[in-house]
Subunit: 351 residues, 2 copies
């Protein structure tokens, strides 16, 4: 019997609803499967916690999380309560960094029953490997002077180690998929980091002669997501470029509400973290209308991560059978509630 | 009689073909109009020039350009001949910077007869005001060590002056349009420059109480370009974010081949420069199939800039009447050549 200890951090806004929904689903999966058991522990670390304690988590928060096999996160941030960069750097980005979750993995693919906003989405199936530890999201920089003379500087920091790690991850993934890696660059406009990025990409590509490797500038790549998304397989991107591309990926799928993600610790020292692409959407929180698919598909990525790819496939197929039969929340044109969709997936899993 | 001296820099690849086409159109406009005359001088500064001379332009290049009222540029760069960051920083970005063309103005709107890749594009009409002098495109940074320990650092530099200038430009523009400015930010992930950007935006917005002002994170904004492009009017964005958004804007219009741009010197000290969004597309150069609409619409922006808004409107209406009647190059699903489309626009302008 495989036992997995999961730390649930529902977070803010709709995070609470969708984590509850996806946790019920994971419980069902393990009931049905038999050989797998989850033990969930919930941590109420959110913006309200910050208002009370002046921090997004207790001082021993990271130590407590390190005892778990995985972290299942909803969404963090509610700018009405706490400025985003405070809540996010105090929880989401802190965990990504300190637990060396150096890869953020995000699929974008056509899901049956969910209408893409594209006229002709064809059958795209992309996996974005986002470098998740450095790049444009650095805490190096600052500002000086106030008023008319103020200057702010943000450093984007790229190391060979992290760049190469993301790229190798992408090439390894492409071996198991369709054998094609595209690098998101901007070496024509950004003169230090991106030519470096290209150089590392060329080096790594040499080790994978059987994989088709090419580069696209981020501006053109974003445009191709709209005009020809089916030309991509695996994309490797910096932290910021990956962020933008994966929201775009969610958009062409039909809704940010369905897009999943995994923050992967590749060295096995710390737990990985699973969180959907969408935010906390405080405007629709507590109304029971949030789309749970992003969080449920994220649960599928967690199953994959723990070596349960078969169960992961069963779950994704069940999601698709439910969406294909029209069980949709209103963000994707339906009239069903979070609970309806969740119940239907549970019912079908039990069959 | 208004006389305008224009420096034509066709540049690389299809730049040569589309600049020739759009120049013919401008000549026709001035013939028909009577009160306006263009004098064109052509400069062959391109990647071949670089291979011969070791620079993208002669030493007195900028001085010569400064004698003109405007610069009409095709496209720069051909990575088969010269690395992009060399050709671009030696010409395109050099001119943008040294001539203090601090605003890059790029429209994205539905054009009749050109099929958007969106299922339901509605009637979007966006103007992106891109900060064009600093930000993520800075020449500050570098790298150290080679091999496994290499680190590359790119500084994004934001000054109050340039940030505020772009924002005021956006608000002034919104007054003449639909009274709505959206700021492209990423203050949840990028902690120095973007919170600063937000602060300046809030300050500037206070001076325009009648303009609706809001902010969107760049990832969400990119997604909205696909799902709800009609919710925007004017968007103000940093150099990199503006770059990405305007390629996306071109994509949702139906082709990068039709998107125009103006690099505006707002203090009147130096000429402004007009160049389409698309690149030099060396793969289709010389075949007569390049879409000239981007360059011709760019000519319209030049007319607007010189106070000839009425002529500008006539030109855009003529473009739309031609596309609406199916005179399309193959990148937008037609079978016409560069020359066909150009001739048809000229014929209709003469009527
Ligand atoms: C060629 C490149 C440097 C340039 C930019 O990013 O500014 C281009 O993409 C553009 O948008 O004009
Ligand atoms: C909330 C924000 C800091 C975060 C990011 O940009 O990484 C989010 O957009 C994401 O993609 O997970």
């Amino acid at each position: 019997m495989k036992q997995l200890k999961i730390a649930n951090i529902p977070g803010d806004g709709i995070g609470k609803e969708v984590v509850a929904a996806a946790t019920d689903i994971l419980k069902t999966v393990s009931e049905v499967h038999g050989g797998l058991k989850f033990e969930f522990t919930e941590f109420q670390w959110d913006c309200r916690y910050y208002l009370e304690h002046g921090a997004m988590m207790p001082e021993d928060g990271m130590e407590r999380l390190s005892q778990f096999d995985g972290i299942f996160l909803g969404a963090v941030g509610d700018p009405n309560l706490v400025p985003d960069h405070v809540s996010l750097w105090g929880l989401l980005i802190k965990i990504r960094r300190e637990f060396e979750q150096s890869i953020n993995l995000r699929p974008a693919k056509v899901i049956k029953g969910i209408r893409s906003p594209l006229l002709n989405p064809k059958d795209f199936d992309i996996m974005v490997v986002r470098e998740n530890s450095e790049g444009e999201y650095s805490s190096i920089g600052g500002s000086m002077y106030r008023g008319d003379d103020e200057i702010a500087i943000q450093n984007a920091v790229f190391s060979r180690k992290a760049t190469e790690r993301a790229m190798r991850f992408a090439f390894e993934l492409a071996k198991k998929r369709n054998g094609h890696v595209t690098s998101a660059t901007k070496s024509n406009g950004i003169i230090y980091s991106m030519p470096f990025w290209d150089r590392v990409f060329e080096d790594v590509a040499k080790d994978y002669p059987d994989i088709q490797a090419d580069s696209q500038h981020i501006d053109a790549l974003a445009a191709f997501f709209v005009t020809q998304p089916d030309r991509f397989d695996v994309i490797v991107a910096s932290n910021l470029f990956g962020d933008i591309l994966t929201d775009l990926g969610a958009a062409i799928m039909g809704s940010i509400g369905i897009a999943p993600a995994a923050n992967i610790n590749v060295n096995g020292k710390y737990p990985s973290m699973f969180e959907p692409v969408h935010g906390s959407a405080p405007d629709i929180a507590g109304k029971g209308v949030a789309n749970p698919i992003g969080q449920i598909w994220t649960a599928k990525m967690m199953l994959d991560h723990f070596g349960e790819e078969e169960l992961g496939s069963v779950l994704l197929n069940t999601i698709e059978s439910v969406t294909n039969d029209g069980f949709l929340t209103r963000d994707i044109g339906g009239r069903h509630t979070t609970q309806d969709v969740t119940d239907e997936i549970i019912a079908r899993l039990k069959k």
